[in-house]
């Protein structure tokens, strides 16, 4: 039993529990969370379209606030502070969550993250050749996409819609293509989010992208790690507050780290920077999901660490590495 007790096993249990809470929570806790919490949402893909979920995703209020509130600064000469109040509250909740968990939301709680990892496990068990680490070139090309999605689909297009430059379909364009919307609703048996709209070209394009992207994400997840996470707008939003996060990935290995690259191989987000030597440095990258796999797969004592405030809560070790690689072999069969 002890053999199976790894960080990843613990993570799976927490992910599963979180999945149940985020997707079915309102069925279980008919209390606080079933209320209208749009301005107090988690920075999470726990979708507001899912009527049974335990909380809401922060992206939907952000888009709505841009469309309906922030735009009023331009259209009705509304004062800046009242118009921004909703957005500030939403960002405030995001900041509090980042303070407590930093980016561990992704690695430990996100329903879409867990969904992709589960499909990845199925792919492995089906014997599909896993792609492993993507090339630096590919990674460098992909990384900016999430910023474009965040800036344009979550902020700028909804704002332009509110001002009146664009049609209503651009009011929440990110939700319109979000794979979590289709996944979480389908998980509760509600297939109404699977559709192609013929209302106008904008709706048509967005619904087509959404469905293609969803299908593509599922197929890719069978052999590529975390395919959607690489372009997910939650990452840029978290990065805005990354500095205040109490939980962080700290590297302490200028002497003992020999840049073996094990950590990069283990990293589902292919963050190649983590193998560079660093002394007592916070190396939590914008793409990091704080999954802790790099700690598990680093063969040296104390090089890779999770720190919470001043306290080290987990460190890489020879022993841990041996145990983890053994389990990995067993799992891959």
């Amino acid at each position: 039993m002890d053999k199976l007790l790894t960080l990843t096993a613990l993570r799976r249990v927490i992910q599963l529990t979180a999945f149940v809470f985020f997707v079915y929570g309102a069925m279980i806790f008919a209390t606080f969370y079933t209320g209208d919490k749009l301005t107090q949402s988690l920075p999470a893909l726990s979708c507001a379209y899912d009527q049974s979920g335990g909380d809401f995703c922060a992206l939907i209020p952000l888009q709505h606030q841009m469309d309906h509130r922030v735009s009023s600064i331009f259209t009705q000469g509304e004062k800046v502070l009242p118009a921004l109040m909703g957005t500030l509250i939403t960002l405030g909740t995001v900041a509090v969550l980042i303070l407590i968990l930093n980016k561990a939301f992704c690695g430990w709680l996100c329903p879409l993250g867990f969904f992709q990892e589960t499909i990845g496990m199925i792919g492995t068990k089906l014997g599909l050749t896993q792609m492993g680490t993507l090339s630096r070139e590919t990674i460098t090309k992909i990384r900016p996409i999430k910023w474009f999605i965040f800036l344009f689909l979550v902020l700028i297009l909804p704002l332009l819609t509110g001002i009146g430059f664009l049609g209503h379909e651009w009011g929440n364009p990110y939700c319109s293509i979000c794979p979590s919307r289709i996944m979480t609703t389908a998980m509760t048996g509600d297939m109404s989010q699977v559709y192609i709209s013929q209302a106008n070209w904008g709706y048509f394009a967005l619904s087509l992208i959404a469905d293609l992207l969803f299908g593509l994400m599922i197929a890719l997840a069978l052999f590529v790690r975390a395919p959607f996470c690489r372009i997910c707008p939650i990452l840029p939003m978290q990065t805005l507050f990354k500095k205040i996060g109490l939980l962080r990935l700290v590297k302490n290995g200028s002497s003992s780290c020999e840049s073996c690259g094990n950590c990069v191989k283990a990293c589902p987000m292919d963050i190649y920077e983590i193998q560079e030597s660093a002394e007592n440095k916070n190396i939590t990258h914008a793409d990091c999901t704080l999954c802790g796999r790099c700690i598990e797969f680093c063969p040296h004592d104390g090089v890779m660490n999770f720190k919470y405030g001043p306290v080290t809560i987990l460190s890489s070790s020879k022993e841990g590495f041996k145990k983890r690689t053994k389990i990995d072999k067993w799992w891959r069969g």
Binding site: A26, A30, T31, F32, Y33, T34, G35, D36, K37, L38, T39, Q40, A48, Y49, Q51, F56, I60, H68, L128, T129, M131, H168, I182, M191, S192, V194, Y195, I196, S197, Q198, A199, N200, S207, L208, D211, L212, L213, F214, G215, L216, M217, I218, A219, L220, L222, F223
Partner: protein
Amino acid sequence: MKKAVLTLIAAATLWGYGDGAVYWAPHGCDEGKAAASKHGGHGKGESAMFALMNRDGNASAQLILPDLSAKPLSFKRNTVMLPKPPMGGYYAVVAEGNGTNTVFSAVRYLSLQGRPSKISPTKLTALSKSVLEIVPDPLHREHDRYTASKSYRFVLRFHDQVLANTAVSLQTHNTPAQTVTTDGAGKFTITLPDDFKNVRIGRSENKPSEFLLTAQYREGETLYQSSLSMPYSLNPNDYWQSQSYGAGAIFIGFLGGIFLYRRSKTKGAKRG
């Protein structure tokens, strides 16, 4: 506007909409209604005026706020004007009254914007508002709205106890009354009819319609009657959205991914 009201009245007479039941209807000539239908579900521009149809002389009305406090409402003829909402969340408009050997009540929920009240709408629905009461189980969320072709559950309560095996009637302006019966736990499920006329493309182009649930229960000499009336919107999946095309597009996306898998394998084989 007059025309619309007349058509409404004509339609009501044709089907006998409401059938003499006491129920709340949004006041026809309210500007806010149009705005509400443009951005439904958020209570933006939600009607501030409601008429108690088939009102009897002694009915009294109150507004229950999201924090569960109550404010009395006064009638002007058969309409009430809601005060400016002091907070955001779900409100219930409740009317109660009695006639000879009858006790009637009418309930309607609405969601209004403002500073969130931090109290779950399930507390508002759970709160006893009348002797006989039809309760949404649960009330749809802020981002949702009652929609045609979708099913919704309700509970029938009498003196705070569930009422099993009792008939409840559902009707809309375009579909005559149909009856459902509550189960052993007092629950029943209805599917809202897809009965919109002159549908135009785009959700915001179509005004919501109204559905009405009514129930009655006799105890001794007294007949208790209660209604719940709410707006519902058309379901785009019944008109300009195709679910089978959607499923097809997902499948094509999936095939694209499989194609990439095969390509990655051949590349991998070449490399190694």
